[in-house]
Symmetry: C2
Subunit: 395 residues, 2 copies
């Protein structure tokens, strides 16, 4: 039953006997796939339990169709989470994935997915290809990807991620984000030892932002289950909305013990990069909610994760892979398209710390909300002179 | 966070600061939703353990957009499975669903779903609305729904459903279907007492169609678990590919006992009309595979079930709700769009027994395969004079 050929739109009318003119753009094919590494510095580094980032060393992925339409997305190397580097992403796309999908129909998304899945791992590279194809589809049809995905609502409540720093400094950043953008949801990076340092930060932020704001924490596996349990208990008066990856999922029984006693959703993130991982971790009691990151599951598999989480009856949240501008637009398009993800605050604001953007227009956060960038495809346009300036693969 | 307003495409450019011209069709709205009951006789009645059908008393559902585009699907009343009748479907659509979704954006599929889900039950009515909206979206964008859904492949292997009759008669029908259409997969309706009657039918079909053909059985809850266990054992030499709903899912422990000992996939069908039911039944050991029927889950929720089943690691098959021509085209469009459903034979041929069709062109099965009806939307056109002739709601 499994075909290895791309669906041939030109064959379609032979069978049904129907006469409607076949839409010309249905015959669009993937003509080329390119990966362009670039580097844009952050104004300040983001520090967290599993790593630190001071430069966005990402990879722009462009899918060109036989009609000359270009779809764009980007891949974010996160070696401490997925094992990919900027160079490995470029190599995987140019050497492995591009040759296996060039010539396929642009609309044969699921056929593309089947082809790239013959290669293990490389989630960020695969995700960027998937999103670039969706962008090209939207631009070909002159409709937004957000609408194609389901168009549930047109904006999301923004949550901002606060990295390691002294309590007063983190609190001041939160206040600044509220005053400037109206943001009232904050994810605080924790997982340091002694736990008192992080607890002090959480208290300082709560005092600074008031009782109405949403606060939750992300340990990036930095604590033991026992430390996490102590921290949750001491943070009772801070009022956490949810907690994320406080201890390693590989500490299987301790993690289960921790999750069982936790009175707020325990979010799995780096432990659930695939739908099968979601099933395993949720059924084993390692989490009671999951993060969705388009940077690792693109649109096609983010939909799989959202549908799986919904079917299992657990919440799913839009997480942030320290997204640049392009991926932020992608996270927003996806998150707002589905009811289950639009219910919760979404981590969308990390792009604010970047020194520059590859896009021709700004992203904007107003009143703590971010509106979907509408228009064809993902709605943004790449500033070619900026890309030329920041790319690191030519002289 | 949950909005009750439809996404307003006209507001979209206010925020992002982007300049691309907003696609005109993004502003298309749902202008009206109509339900037209009709009746077309079957050449011969189909008999099975939970009921019998001699007339297709279905409901055509048409969604008209503000651009004048019309999307079409149909709802199939199956009172013995979902409690809906032809009249209840018309009433639910005209009185409840239409008023709640008219005025929403055509592309706000997930918003539409949220609105109709405020009313419990009525799966066939909801499914038809969802599919009619997808058809209207495809026609608006001039692309096939099959491509929008993922476009995995362009054809499916057809499986034919054989109803109750004498062994020689059922075997002759199978042979005729092979000779005429090349069909080599057969689902035999079982669930009668004594079980010997059904076993005789299965043996007769296997003898007639040879060892290469695929045979599986569907009990529609007609047997007890003990009877089903005996039947499976006696059918060992017939070689079943899978078995379906052999005993009631509400016989919880007996069903689990039966499924545990079953060496082929045990398919849940009427016991899993929703994603939550899939999770419950699979986790409780009541089945090891699920049927997907667009007639009850439309395209949006069929995708949810397919993604859920894939994430849970179980097979999903395209089942047949005794589909008419319109729903057959829908089942085909969906089933061929996803890798997980395209892997297995799909029940698509029941339309062959209808005396007439509402479509302007034929559906066709060749070499046991059915090709997706390509073209805009679902690719078919309604013959207005036929609809006028068969509709039962005017003089």
């Amino acid at each position: 039953m499994t075909t290895t050929e791309a669906p041939e739109a030109t064959l379609a009318n032979l069978a049904g006997g129907y006469g409607p003119t076949l839409a010309m753009h249905e015959s669009a094919k993937i003509a080329s796939v390119h990966a362009i590494p670039y580097a844009i510095p952050y104004r300040k580094p983001l520090n967290f339990a599993s790593g630190s980032i001071s430069v966005a060393d990402n990879v722009v992925v462009q899918v060109r169709t036989s009609d000359g339409v270009v779809g764009t997305a980007e891949a974010l190397p996160r070696p401490y989470t997925y094992g990919e580097t900027q160079s490995s992403i470029v190599a995987a796309i140019e050497d492995v994935f591009a040759p296996s999908i060039v010539g396929l129909g642009l609309f044969a998304r699921e056929q593309v997915r089947a082809r790239v899945d013959r290669t293990v791992g490389n989630p960020s590279a695969k995700a960027a290809i998937d999103m670039a194809i969706w962008d090209a589809i939207g631009r070909t049809l002159d409709v937004s990807v957000h609408k194609l995905l389901g168009g549930y609502t047109d904006s999301l409540t923004v949550s901002h991620m606060l990295g390691f720093a002294a309590p007063a400094q983190v609190a001041a950043e939160a206040v600044q984000l509220y005053e400037r953008y109206g943001i009232q949801s904050f994810k605080i990076k924790v997982g340091r030892r002694p736990i008192q340092d992080d607890i002090a930060v959480c208290r300082a932020v709560r005092e600074a932002v008031g009782s109405q704001a949403e606060i939750y924490i992300d340990g990036n596996r930095g604590w033991s289950a026992a430390e996490a349990s102590q921290a949750i208990s001491r943070l009772g008066d801070v009022g956490l909305a949810r907690v994320e990856e406080l201890c390693p999922a590989d500490d299987v029984l301790s993690r289960r013990w921790l999750v069982q006693q936790c009175s707020v959703p325990f979010v799995a993130d780096e432990s659930v990069p695939t739908p099968a991982d979601v099933t395993r971790e949720i059924l084993s009691g390692a989490a009671t909610a999951v993060n969705i990151k388009v940077a690792r599951t693109g649109f096609s598999d983010s939909l799989r994760v959202a549908n799986l989480a919904e079917g299992l009856g657990i919440p799913s949240n839009i997480g942030n892979q320290i997204d640049g501008h392009i991926t932020t637009a992608c996270s927003l398009a996806f998150g707002a398209s589905q009811r289950v993800t639009a219910r919760h605050s979404a981590e969308l604001s990390n792009y604010l710390d970047l020194e520059d953007s590859l896009l021709t227009g700004p992203l904007s956060i107003e009143g703590g909300e971010m509106r979907v960038v509408d228009g064809s495809g993902l709605g943004f346009e790449i500033d070619e002179s900026k890309l030329e300036h920041y790319r690191i693969d030519n002289a």
